[in-house]
Symmetry: C2
Subunit: 609 residues, 2 copies
């Protein structure tokens, strides 16, 4: 069974609706373009997260023409920066047609990079030792956007070159105003070549999605344009991309777009989606008739208008809870556990999600600052944060500093995938970096660290050095003195070095342990990857498999030097026969202990519902 | 301890940096404006989720002037719809100054609603029986945006009215072209009044945030503009709001904005933030010098450019898990439990989050469709979905239909706050609505329903009619026949009617129960608000409090007619003395049972980490 997506169904329906639209004419200004089949029609949408949907002639090749302009503009920005580029080419829309010369009467600066004059000036900004090298860079860049090797259509290029007198004239005008700094011939030729690169409709969709995804091709993961320049490229597409009706386009469609005379249209909704359409019949403005129609329909039916946005801020805090409601998996003795129930209210955990920007980080700051007077530790879990920009980094940095100055600690967890955070903190905090920037790989270790800090003051002796006696063992606490005397000979003392494995997953369970000194931890897998629990003196461990006869389900390792007492299953069974009252008391304690743990787990589970 | 927010600190620093900027001149074209103190300077940012930050003279009143234009345009759209409005006023930017007449030479249509001619034509579109009624509607609308009662500044209004000859001329020109359909006098007067409404800088920030929040004031929750028209208002601000440099503004600042000659500037980043600045010194374009500077700095430092966006799609699926990894809280007997472990793999739960739009819903569809061949039930939990637009509704609708046609079921949970979903489904599905649109208030009930469906076929008899014997009781299963004979006289049979309370929270726990026939459920509070567990015949209940001697922590109610066997604590204690081997066997089973539940709870907890 293979189900087609309703999105595919929708696009096919839209395609069928728009196919009868046969208005407009195939471009004829160069002979090669006139050879296009006017019925060709393809549609592709690609999301910024990498899903691609195609209908119709999406693999038919055609030349990119003016759709090359925003991509070359992006490369010019990378090569020269914004100031130099703006000095050569403006960013104002013009009411004139696509091939108008439109130079500023005073400075000779082309009005914007989407008209031919501006595009030729932009081509003049592409770095490279030779004309061939400059074109190679353009072709490589376009290929990164498309995620496949693109090539020049030699026939179209020759046709453009032979008939491009108007563009050659523009080249010379630009040279006259020093907007080209060398012989205009090779640059005009480079412009003809960039326009003659062969693409298909699917490529357009993916190239658009690459711009939507801050310059990173969502299928290959490769960067085609530095993220900081994406906004500039989309801005000129937004105001100048569809020639002489920028206002109406933004009003009706609200998606930055660019068209080409071979019939391509590319539209980019930042952060969301790329659209490619191909249909060679053009309207009087030189835009594909079906291309315009498809963009209008998609915008309306899929509610894609740039300015149609729900509020984003409040979704950053996925969940928050107190350290009193959810402990680390360090299992505490009764006294310490009770103490912690009060103290751990000073810990607050925030699970954050999405992209951290100024606006999405603001509610986190607000909440933390409101709670700061009554709390001591803030754990910010970044596991489900996809990205963090500098602006969010600055806010977090200020928060850390401000709270540190007020004896509050902010701890970040799960932030290995956000190296910018660490870099920014290091730069900002300087010498104080090590003191006040705290990170842990996961929440559990962070919680435990906070708990230990809170318990520190009131603890009578450090757990690792404190030795429990059998009378302190939780499971034996209901026994009378005489009963303890009976069980004591059954307890076999054992010592383990720090790091030694006490219980191995998969082994048969023939004993349970009472911890006398030190700490032990339970790990799910072979290495110390995911800690399930830590025990302190007085607690029993290994009792679950001991009871249900299943093989050991986890490894238990000594965290420190450990002394413990072992109770063998055979001895426990024999105890039941000779001194059933003792066994009953132990089992009852065990039931109680399990009941307590189960109640706690259920309480914690309810946090996540 | 009250900590100031780093955001407040940042804004104060920015304010101090921009304060020495004293370029520009206070407007003098009407005498009243010339009275402004040129040093006034206020800054306010308000987020779409309702946080407000202010610095400087944010409570100083001034007249709104041209910033009234987008708000009145929004009201005109509500009153007349897009087509009529577009017929009277265009949406194309013009290179001309704010007070130019700029009518289309052919049709006499003003180029856009942000120039005076367009704004006067827009004022002519406001509905109302009298001039006073029309102004009252404008004032009420502005007050909804600001979240407080605004008022007319009579002095400025009179000054405007006395000197507004140019605007009166425009009124007559519009009448000449039938872009005003009645005497232009009252409409020009209405325009003078709308410009003379008194606001402060904080109002501007909140009015901007209202536009950012799809027309809903984030502080009062009241709708000032229907959501569907927000994109149109922001579009004309985006291309025409800052007079004759739309391209450069979008390129450098990238936030739709509008300025007024009294020194106000308002900028709106859709879905995110509103900015209000007030400083009366204007540049040659008529824009506040500090206002422009602040917007540029905020855009750059806070990375607010409209086109600077990370990919949003992939964050919709908060969590997903199989019904095999997380069961309903219906506790099953061993055989049924084992059966369900295999069957429940056919259930998949998706926790969705954020705003459901085409782009954010697409990954959900893709995932569900990929998994559909191997699965049977899909539970979409919408608890953390804030909103759903029509486009997302259509996709979900198609998904439901497609899966129903392939014998798969989609169930929605926690969707009471999204009435649009239900309405759309009802409209689309018609008669099939009841059959294929399934919703449950929470995941647990949805899971249980799916589990019951899956178990239906293989179940030998319906739980409610099936009667367990003591030999079937889980906790007694290790007992020999002779041991069973000893315990049987201690079991006291009890019957309960459907709905009857078997255990009351807070009561002393003096017995445990074995369920012989029917079903019982555990509820945390008095009424059937949150179900903690359901038990089938053969299971014990009430054993936890029985063991730990705590008062009953929950209510247990009979779901159906119920028969059960009661075991009193005193009898159980006596049993330990007379037949310790039996008590040991029961306690061991209980430990095992608790161990199993604890292992399950820990597995489930790990899903959420």
């Amino acid at each position: 069974m293979k189900l087609t997506s309703p999105i595919q169904d929708f696009l096919e329906e839209l395609y069928t609706q728009c196919k009868p639209e046969t208005g407009g004419q195939v471009a004829t200004y160069i002979p090669e373009l006139a050879k296009a089949d006017p019925n060709w029609f393809g549609l592709c949408i690609a999301t910024a997260s990498g899903a691609v949907y195609e209908v119709g002639d999406t693999r038919q090749e055609f030349t990119i023409q003016s759709i090359s302009k925003p991509f070359v503009y992006g490369l010019a920005l990378e090569d020269n920066g914004r100031d130099t580029t703006l000095d050569r080419v403006g960013v104002e829309p013009t009411g004139d047609a696509f091939n108008s010369i439109s130079l500023d009467p005073g400075t000779g600066r082309p009005r914007n990079p989407m008209i031919n004059a501006g595009a030729i000036a932009t081509a003049g900004l592409i770095a490279g030792k030779s004309p061939a090298a400059r074109f190679r860079r353009i072709l490589e860049t376009f290929s990164l956007y498309a995620g496949r090797e693109l090539a020049l259509d030699e026939t179209v290029y020759r046709s453009e070159s032979e008939t491009g007198h108007r563009n050659r004239a523009i080249g010379h005008m630009l040279r006259n105003f020093d907007k080209l700094t060398s012989d205009p011939g090779p640059t005009t030729d480079l412009y003809f070549k960039q326009c003659s690169i062969s693409v298909n409709c699917r490529d357009l969709g993916i190239m658009a999605a690459t711009l939507a995804n801050r310059g990173v091709n969502p299928l290959t993961g490769k960067q085609a344009l530095r993220g900081e320049y994406v906004e500039s490229v989309l801005s000129v597409m937004g105001t100048c991309g569809m020639y002489d009706y920028a206002g109406e386009w933004l009003y009706n469609v609200g998606i930055p777009a660019k068209s080409g005379v071979a019939g391509g249209v590319m539209a980019v909704l930042p952060g969301q989606i790329g659209i490619g359409v191909f249909s060679p019949r053009l309207d009087a403005h030189g835009n594909s008739v079906r291309g315009i129609r498809i963009c209008e329909e998609l915008s309306r039916k899929l509610e894609l208008h740039l300015f149609n946005r729900a509020a984003t801020g409040k979704s950053t805090i996925r969940l928050q809870f107190s350290g009193a409601d959810f402990n680390s998996c360090h299992v505490r003795g009764a006294a310490e556990g009770q103490e912690l129930r009060a103290l751990a209210k000073a810990i607050q955990v925030y699970q954050l999600q999405g992209h951290l920007t100024f606006v999405t980080t603001e509610p986190v700051l607000r909440d933390v600052l409101e709670q700061a007077p009554g709390l001591r530790y803030f754990i910010l879990d970044l596991k489900r944060v996809f990205s963090l920009n500098e602006s969010a980094g600055h806010l977090l940095n200020s928060l850390v500093e401000k709270l540190a100055a007020n004896r509050r600690t902010v701890i970040f967890t799960h932030c290995q995938h956000l190296p910018l955070l660490r870099r920014m903190m290091k730069k900002k905090l300087g010498a104080r970096f090590e003191q006040i920037f705290a990170t842990f790989p996961d929440n559990d270790l962070a919680l435990e660290w906070c708990e230990e800090q809170l318990l520190e003051n009131t603890r009578h002796a450090h757990a690792a050095h404190y030795k429990s006696k059998p009378t302190d063992y939780e499971l034996l606490q209901a026994l009378s003195e005489s009963e303890l005397k009976i069980i004591q000979p059954l307890l076999q003392p054992r010592k383990f070095k720090a790091g030694q494995k006490i219980i191995r997953a998969g082994d048969e369970a023939r004993e349970m342990f009472f911890l006398a000194r030190g700490m032990v931890s339970v790990y799910l897998r072979d290495e110390e990857t995911h800690r399930l629990a830590t025990f302190s003196p007085g607690m029993a461990f290994g009792e679950m498999a001991f009871l249900d006869g299943a093989p050991r389900s986890a490894n238990i390792l000594a965290d420190t030097e450990v002394e413990c007492d072992l109770l063998a299953m055979d001895d426990f069974t024999a105890l039941g026969k000779q001194h059933p009252a003792i066994k009953i008391k132990i089992l009852e304690k065990l039931c109680l202990n399990l009941t307590g743990k189960l109640r706690k787990a259920n309480r914690e589970l309810s946090l996540f519902q």
